[in-house]
């Protein structure tokens, strides 16, 4: 009787341990990557809000010092803007018009456009990693085919002195105002750029 009980225990444990683990779904890593990017952005925005509150507090307490620091920071921000900037530029509409260097662009649904990202660099820079995150309403066009499954586009390369342009053919698939996130990264330095594209009914 006791033997039978031990046997049953042993069999039970082996049956439980026999359950095979499942492989991760194919899209698991890319989905998680998108969620992590989103989380990072949210955390960044949250930190900025906290910085604003602290800045406001400082402003009220130490006005003269604050004015000097703010002026200095403004110079830094403006300088940084011209140093390394990105645009959603030159998106073609279905009528073949070119919107030019605009921050918010309009694209008709079902039409193809070109996402142009301009980077102005004061010197040659090597090994820059660019990551472009396309929103739900926009898809990549590759070899004349629409690719809606790859929303993250990675590119690694060098920046020349002066103007650099990255062109990316895209297709508007869903109506709405969509945000494109562009990250340029070198070592520990990261530059995040966000641009809006409005997709409207044709």
């Amino acid at each position: 009787m006791e033997n039978k009980k031990i046997m049953k225990e042993e069999v039970l444990e082996k049956i439980i341990r026999s359950v095979k683990s499942k492989d991760l779904p194919n899209s698991y890593s890319s989905e998680l990557h998108l969620k992590l990017l989103q989380t990072k952005r949210e955390m960044h925005q949250h930190n900025n809000k906290i910085s604003d509150i602290i800045s406001n507090l400082r402003y009220s307490l130490f006005k003269p010092v604050f004015v000097s620091v703010t002026t200095f920071l403004l110079f830094l921000i403006i300088g940084g803007y011209f140093y390394f900037q990105g645009y959603v530029k030159g998106i073609k509409t279905s009528q073949g018009q070119v919107t030019g260097s605009v921050i918010s662009s309009v694209l008709n649904m079902g039409t193809e456009g070109v996402l142009r990202i301009n980077f102005s660099s004061p010197k040659e820079q090597k090994d820059i990693n660019f990551e472009i995150l396309l929103p739900e309403g926009l898809c990549l066009v590759q070899n004349a085919k629409i690719n809606c499954s790859d929303k993250i586009i990675n590119w690694n390369g060098n920046l020349n002195l002066g103007k650099n342009v990255i062109k990316l053919p895209i297709m508007a698939t869903h109506e709405g105002v969509w945000e494109i996130y562009i990250t340029a990264k070198k070592g520990n330095t990261v530059k995040n750029i966000k641009r809006s594209v409005s997709v409207q009914k044709a």
Binding site: E13, I16, S18, K20, Y28, S29, T39
Partner: protein, 201 residues
């Protein structure tokens, strides 16, 4: 790159380092959730929620425990909440198995009793269903110990409880599991040898 370097980089917001850091835990966390709830889509979302939470909390990691213990401790609350959410649902699942559906053994020429691959998969599915019917206080411990191969010590650290508590929960969990499974599987049809030979696919 070493784990401590990856942690340092991930703390500064480097997503690539974080992904590298968690790569070895992804399958385990996904399977824990899947074995708890038995739904692939939900397991996908919830396990990713775990990693997002870990990413957000990473700056609080001081290295007082190993990263894996810390990760599973963070994940524990999500596991338990999800387990609670699914427990009522699980209770309503009926195991409509009759005698004809019990697993059969096939005799082959060498004299061993072996279970066909299809039937083994069926059995594994039944074990999963049985685990999902466990009361919430036992399910996490049973999955960690039997399916994920954690030691008593590791589970105790993750659960922030004593080894004695872990052993006790495991023992009681196993009793529950035996009861649930005995309605689904005829144990007398199995012997250790046949399981050793064919069970692990």
């Amino acid at each position: 790159m070493e784990e401590k370097d990856l942690i340092a980089k991930a703390k500064s917001g480097d997503i690539y380092s974080f992904e590298q850091l968690i790569s070895r835990y992804q399958k385990s966390v996904y399977n824990i959730i899947y074995n708890m709830i038995g739904n692939e889509e939900e397991a996908n979302d919830i396990s990713q929620e775990v990693f997002i939470k870990v990413f957000k909390s990473l700056t609080k990691f001081r290295g007082e425990s190993s990263f894996s213990t810390w990760l599973y401790s963070i994940a524990k609350n999500i596991f338990i909440n999800e387990s609670k959410r699914y427990y009522n649902k699980k209770k309503s699942i009926e195991t409509s198995l009759d005698d004809n559906e019990n697993l059969k053994l096939l005799n082959i020429s060498d004299g061993y009793n072996v279970v066909e691959e299809f039937e083994i998969r069926e059995l594994q599915e039944k074990v999963r269903q049985a685990i999902q019917q466990l009361p919430e206080e036992f399910i996490f411990v049973v999955i960690l110990y039997y399916l994920e191969g954690f030691s008593y010590e590791e589970i105790a650290k993750i659960m922030d409880s004593s080894i004695g508590t872990v052993k006790s929960r495991l023992s009681r969990g196993k009793e529950h599991l035996k009861e649930i499974l005995s309605n689904m599987v005829n144990f007398s049809d199995f012997n250790s040898e046949s399981i050793n030979n064919k069970m692990i696919l």
